[in-house]
Amino acid sequence: MATAADTPLLRVRDLTVEFVGRTSCLRAVDGVSFEVAEGETLAVVGESGSGKTATALALMRLLPAGKAQASASEVTFEGCDLMRLPESRMRELRGNRISMIFQDPMSAWNPALTIGKQVAEPIQCHELLSWPSALSRAEELLGSVRIPDPRSRSGQYPHQFSGGMRQRAMVAMALACRPRLVIADEPTTALDVTVQAQILNLLKDLTRQSGASLILVTHDLGVVARYADRVAIMYAGRIVESGSAREVYRQPGHPYTRGLLACVPRLDRPATGALTPIPGQPPSLNRLPSGCAFHPRCPHAMERCRRERPVLEHKGGQHWGACFVDFHR
């Protein structure tokens, strides 16, 4: 899935994440491969439970220890193999070269510390600044994400911020050390559309200014269309289609992608009669269908789809798909 001739910032090959319970073992991510180029925004889309967060946490090496196992034939970031890096080196990268913005802006904050201190901490730690200079840099950053009156606001606690302000401060913290890669896991799901647009525009502007890459996990197809250069669609732990946003929206190849684009009502089209749902239910990981995991819901399923699992194949341009049915029918 090469995006450019030069080496990508991040290259992931065959990433697998398993959650091990006492009696069971769930494969939440099953051989996922993708690349992120310098300065690129890759959106990751898929239904609940398809493995988006597990993928993100595996890259950050933040999966719950003892409960989850990640393996990959390659996870190369800036030439380092993240899977084999000692934890001490990984800690230097986290919040510094790679940072993450979480879905729930409240639970990611420590309620007992002021916002300013929490934003300043990674700065002091990674940039080796004195505490007072780190604090004043934090105030500057809060100003740059347009928190009004950042000096006094930085002395406030998370509960004194609105949801939108908390998430804006989270953007400030994630970008504090000028990371090369930001992973944002549904950063605006809990917020109003007007606030969502503010936060995502901010995130996009700031990453563009610093040339950082962005992995944006979302379930909102509008957000993908507005902010992503490329998109990867996940279903049941695998990437079933990827390509430039234009390719995928203009000519969705995988029946699941087509289903997703067809089932949402849209403001840019006249209101229609009935919606076209994708039939059936998303599969549960401990009872995955044989062959292609989507086949029970697929209108084009053939005998082969029940037996064999399609792998991601190049379909021209930047477009890749995992489907036996003629992709560009």
Binding site: S48, V195, A225, R226, C263, T272, P282
Partner: protein, 332 residues
């Protein structure tokens, strides 16, 4: 006010307000004031009609719904349902009338008793309202309800945890419909569900409305979904309705600057449309005060605010068969 014509409305909500106490942060939670979560809201809803209710978080949508169901006390205003003034109805009489209005909630996980089989869950409202008749009657009704929401009758002996989110929402809908209500209030009924499942539930609601003449009050954040399902749409901001109009009028020609900003902020699922489209971002959310300042509550963020907006609250005024509360639009 009303933008509906003819036919007597099923639900008439007139100038209702709901206030919540605000307590201090100390050990003794002293009451230090109150917040008007809903402030003078009026609308009407007819049979076989869907009114969409949108607006930012905390604007009072859920509170309005709970007030209509009389699950919250009003601090002012009047509610008529099915020809009865229910504003001050006692518990017992209200319980009887509540049969006519049912609600489904956002979270299909929390709203079903995990220890009850589906059959019991669906029978319970029949029992509560004394509609069981003989035992066989209620069994038949349960089958009917399951079929109505597209579940097979074998599911009656299973427990909620054995179902997916979408199926659980179908069960909640079946339970709400058990007593044949005239009004169904849906508060974010699909926002906890995957998009691939949302369409199934929305189609189900549309179909039920067509078949039974149900009136729907449909609360959601998803503006495209609200456009799809609604006949009319009300937009709330800070406890008030700021605009109310027929669906197409509202979406094609929004008048209130907040409605305009809201619609502009929704990203369209088409990269080409999105690269071509600029959106005017609203400024940051203003600090919230306990007593809403005089003037239009949106004036702090409004790109078109004038001097008058900061000192005078605009009333909801009729304009071309629609209603808008904004100083940009004077009386007709």
């Amino acid at each position: 006010m009303s933008t509906s014509t003819g036919e007597k409305p099923l639900l008439r909500v007139k100038d209702i307000s709901v206030a919540f106490p605000v307590t201090g942060r100390g050990i003794v939670r002293r009451r230090i004031g109150s917040v008007r979560a809903v402030d003078g809201v009026s609308f009407e809803l007819r049979q076989n009609e869907t009114l969409g209710l949108v607006g930012e978080t905390g604007s009072g949508k859920s509170t309005t719904a709970l007030a209509v169901l009389r699950m919250l006390d009003l601090s002012g205003g009047r509610i008529e349902f099915d020809g009865h003034d229910i504003t001050r109805l006692g518990r017992a009489r209200m319980r009887r009338l509540r049969r006519g209005m049912q609600m489904i909630f956002q979270d299909p996980f929390a709203s079903l008793n995990p220890r009850m089989r589906i059959g019991r869950i669906l029978e319970e409202p029949l029992v509560v309202h004394g509609l069981t008749g003989d035992g066989r009657g209620s069994a038949r009704r349960v089958d009917e309800l399951l079929e109505l929401v597209g579940l097979d009758s074998g599911t009656r002996d299973r427990f909620p945890h054995e179902f997916s989110g979408g199926q659980r929402q179908r069960i909640s809908i079946a339970r709400a419909l058990a007593v044949s209500p005239k009004l169904l209030i849906c508060d974010e009924p699909v926002s906890a569900l995957d998009v691939s499942i949302q369409a199934q539930i929305i189609n189900l609601l549309v179909d039920l409305k067509r078949r039974t003449g149900l009136a729907l009050l449909f609360i959601a954040h998803d503006l495209a979904l609200v456009r799809h399902i609604s006949d009319r749409v009300a937009v709330m901001y800070a406890g008030r309705i700021v605009e109310l109009a027929d669906r197409d009028a509202l979406y094609e020609r929004p008048l209130h600057p907040y409605t305009q900003a809201l619609l502009a902020a929704v990203p369209r699922p088409d990269p080409e449309v999105e690269t071509a489209r600029g959106i005017g971002l609203l400024p940051d959310e203003p600090p919230r005060s306990i007593d809403p300042a005089l003037g239009c509550p949106f004036s702090l963020r409004c790109p078109k605010a004038m001097d008058v907006c900061r000192c005078e609250t605009p009333p909801l005024r009729m304009r071309d068969a629609r209603a808008v509360a904004c100083h940009l639009y004077g009386p007709d």
